[in-house]
Symmetry: C2
Subunit: 251 residues, 2 copies
């Protein structure tokens, strides 16, 4: 967290439906790609069920370890939507009906403002709102935590209002070198040599099976674009030396 | 963990490519659905990067809290594949080359047994093998931890050998009642009433927007199939009472 260039986020995905396999999560992937453009790294993610004893300790661990936390899920009107209650309890704050959300709900009309719908107007005392460009109620923020909907279309809209509220980091540069017909068992040695020469960069290898047999995408990532470029050149030279067939891909 | 009927698993997904958004994880969803058939619940999941200081504490926290842990990713031949090293360190065991894996690699032939490939033969002392029905090396198990590949096709094959090694639980029964044209704000009250009458069941509501406007899938889950059936009947009666349009769906 002391690193001025690196801004870290943890994503806390809340919902029995993700853990039971009923729903395939796609929110983590969206958030990671979206924040990358702002130089903000997703550093950890957790998936927990709709239970106080799971949500509160996870939230407290994550908000103490990373610059920000984004939660998704559990902010609807039904009894199993307990995220706001848990966030308030984690911060030891009372949960209050936010007059601005109630006013929005009343202005929108078209439905009865049932006690269940009013649950969605509750925000921990002192919390701010996260705009929802769709038709539902907003999310909220408190401390370094942003509380978003779980439905992907709604969550994505809310992210438009989250990113500008975060400190921006230095954007990560990445280059991918795609190698065909040579497996990781052979590529590992030159890759590791380049990785050791550039300890500030992250070099990863992602194997695939293609028309020429095993290959791998070798990915070089780092916040110093010039060093990423240098390391990519070094890797290309090392691949030429072992006779590997490669293509350079921008990312 | 003391619950004889409920067997819990945590999934630890290891890989920078998931956190950067380069790759969409699908392993959690597969594992959750696969184990459900054995009455085994995924109770938590975490995603961490390829870093010792992230992997080891997460593994130690999870293996102490749940019946089993399944890890995916980081068992390839390249320098960023450090899962085996981290598991050995978490268990404070030496990492040894497993003679059976080396023999498999030698028997298979068709490639040079480079030092990088030999890395994939390393298992913490006393660990067992997890069969790989594909062409690569096996995964391994140690204590209550199963260490699997990250590539989905390989991970899925390995799961065939993991499930029989776990204690089976009582399979969860689930019923879904799909309600069209009535939103959660109205459904919340009858749903909560049924939920309160059946504290051992989990009732969830998953909203959607359909041709008749807002609707929701109301899911009733539990290990007592008769109670799930009773609660579903009660919910159907309550939905009839508020004039909601619904269909019952088996799951």
């Amino acid at each position: 967290m002391a690193d001025a260039e690196r801004v870290t986020v943890a994503v806390l995905i809340i919902g029995d439906e993700i853990l039971s396999g009923r729903t395939q999560d796609t929110n983590l992937n969206f958030i990671a790609r979206y924040l990358a453009a702002f130089g903000v790294d997703v550093a950890e993610a957790r998936v927990v069920g709709d239970a106080r004893e799971a949500i509160i300790p996870a939230l407290n661990a994550l908000r103490g370890s990373y610059d920000y936390v984004i939660t998704t899920g559990g902010i609807g009107p039904t009894h199993d939507d307990i995220t706001a209650d848990c966030v308030a309890e984690a911060f030891d704050l009372p949960l209050m009906e936010h007059p601005e959300i109630v006013a929005m709900m009343e202005a929108r009309g078209g439905y009865e403002l049932t006690p269940a719908r009013r649950r969605m107007a509750r925000v921990p005392q002192g919390g701010g709102l996260v705009k929802n460009p769709g038709q539902g109620p907003p999310g909220f923020s408190i401390g370094n935590v942003f509380v978003l909907a779980g439905v992907p279309a709604v969550m994505r809209g809310m992210m438009e209002d989250v990113a500008p509220k975060m400190r921006a980091g230095v954007v990560v540069s990445a280059r991918t070198v795609k190698v065909e017909g040579t497996g990781e068992g052979v590529l590992a040695e030159p890759l590791e040599r380049v990785a050791k020469a550039h300890p500030k960069l992250a070099l990863g290898s992602y194997p695939f099976f293609g028309p020429d047999g095993f290959g791998a995408n070798l990915v070089i990532r780092g916040r110093d674009a010039a060093e990423v470029e240098t390391a990519t050149q070094e890797l290309v030279t090392a691949l030429e030396a072992i006779g590997a067939k490669f293509m350079r891909i921008e990312e």
